[in-house]
Amino acid sequence: MAVIKMTDVSLAHRLARVNLDLQPGEVLGLIGPNGAGKTSLLHCFAGVESYTGEIRLLDAALSDYSGEQRARLMGLLPQRCQSAWSLSVGDIIRLGRLPWRDDCPEKVSQAARMTGVNQWLDHPVDQLSGGEQARVWLARVLAGEPRVLLADEPLASLDLYYQCHILTLLRDYAQGERSVMLSMHDLSMAARYCDRLCLLHQGEVFALGSPAEVLTRENLLAVYQVQVQLDLAATPPVVSVIG
């Protein structure tokens, strides 16, 4: 049974009749040009945007869940994050436990270890570099252990090592009942780490399926208006822009 099933979901000027599903244990990559609706789609799930149409989470409509029940099942890592106050890294990660109304030290320190920020637990978050902060924001979501982890461009502001590290981490997170839905711009990374891809174009689903089905020359030309050279069988997969 699908964890999430979206039927004819629309959002004024941003999404038009989107049909999409997310399976347990799956990493689903949302790709598409700027303004294609990737962020809006993630926001619909996370309760940030109100939509028309139906989203089912497990066996009930998303709108039937209370905010807290939904937050326990779905965690959102927004594209840009900033702490208004100079909170400690530990306090930021503990924020992920808010829907559970506990501070569960084991889960907090486990999330910190997974993202490699455990040595800074007492540090003020605003004294870390951008890349280090990005891992703290992710640790915050991981601490809530959501069934569905929604990540909006988690690779932005990360160096190459941590791009791979975070994607491996998300890949491993999507085990058993847990799934990950993330938006990203790097198509070869998307082909390498995602089970399925959803190519969005002007608020509509242009293509949905395995990387090989979605990343075709025709699709990419139609959506991105660029010629690409593809070799998805290579390790790592090659998607390079010719022009």
Partner: protein, 325 residues
């Protein structure tokens, strides 16, 4: 821990406040006699003058400190001042109407406070209506707009003052003071402190979640829309009543959360109660200081807090600037 320390400081300040005044009285004996309904000099000085003054200073300070901490947390802006809700200007306008039009003659000495409360309530409703979405920038803009409007009306009232005495009375009232007020003012303040404080404290988790922005707060299952309105409402109730009872006591709401923040790891939820305790202590201390000044025309409490608060504020700006350089 910080609660205990601040609580003890508050108690100590209250005791000192009961002992401070122009005449020497036996405080404990006077308090007991007052409670037993005896009309001795000690009982009258302690029970009818110093006790209301102390309790008012404490509650006004607590209301200002708490509302400042809540608004700064909600707006994620360390420079947010409780006056931003438009409630203080509204209260001032309400009180001015009493001085000039003689509203609520039945209420006697509490009339300015009651009219102030009404004015604060009206200004706040207008502000909430104008702000609509309760987004942080809208709350600031709407609060500024309503403050400007009520400020203009207040200036117009001053302009057409029927006689200079009424004007002087109003200006002195506006400068802020907790003296010459009775326990009936406490009957206005205490419920406001309970209701406003309760509203704000019920949204502690929202304030914490909002540290990372509205999107994160929403995704954490916190309702930032309704919750923000409750916080603004709570803060406006606190500020409105505090200003109605004691006039404008500047800088307490702005400065106190800054003093407390380093002790609670900058957490916007944990800064609330300590800010209330520290605000109460500071206003009471300022009021003690006023009573210790040499006799003559009394320095108004609001003037003193501004005189002390402004340099502190400049120091904060300086410290903040160094951090960013």
């Amino acid at each position: 821990m910080i609660h205990v320390v601040l609580g003890l400081m508050l108690l100590g300040t209250a005791v000192i406040s009961l002992h401070t005044g122009s005449t020497q009285v036996a405080v404990l004996a006077g308090l007991v006699e007052w409670l037993r309904g005896l009309e001795t000099v000690d009982a009258i000085v302690v029970g009818d003058i110093r006790l209301p003054r102390t309790l008012l200073a404490l509650t006004v300070g607590a209301a200002l400190g708490l509302s400042g901490a809540a608004l700064q947390g909600l707006l994620r802006n360390p420079l947010a001042d409780p006056g931003l809700t438009g409630a203080s200007q509204g209260a001032a306008l309400g009180a001015a109407a009493v001085f000039y039009l003689g509203l609520f003659p039945v209420a006697g000495g509490a009339a300015p406070a009651m009219a102030g409360l009404l004015g604060a309530g009206l200004a706040m409703l207008l502000m909430l209506f104008l702000a609509g979405s309760a987004r942080q920038s809208m709350v600031i803009m709407a609060g500024l707009a309503i403050s400007t409007l009520t400020g203009a009306l207040l200036a117009a009232v001053l302009n057409f003052a029927p006689n200079p005495y009424a004007m002087q009375e109003l200006v002195f009232w506006l400068l802020g003071s907790v003296s010459e007020r009775g326990l009936e003012h406490l009957l206005l303040l205490l419920p406001a402190l309970l209701v406003g404080g309760g509203l704000i404290l019920s949204q502690r988790r929202l304030l914490l979640g909002l540290s990372l922005g509205e999107q994160v707060a929403d995704s954490l299952g916190l309702s930032s829309r309704t919750g923000s309105r409750l916080v603004v409402l709570g803060a406006a109730i606190l500020v409105g009543t505090a200003v109605s009872v004691a006039g404008a006591i500047g800088f307490v709401g702005l400065i106190v959360p800054h003093l407390v923040r380093p002790w609670v790891g900058n957490r916007p939820d944990r800064v609330l109660l300590p800010s209330a305790l520290a605000g109460a202590t500071l206003v009471c201390l300022a009021d003690i200081l006023i009573r210790l000044l040499p006799p003559g025309p009394e320095l108004k409490l609001g003037v003193l807090t501004s005189l002390l608060g402004a340099p502190l504020f400049i120091w904060l700006v300086w410290k903040e600037r160094r951090r960013w350089l």
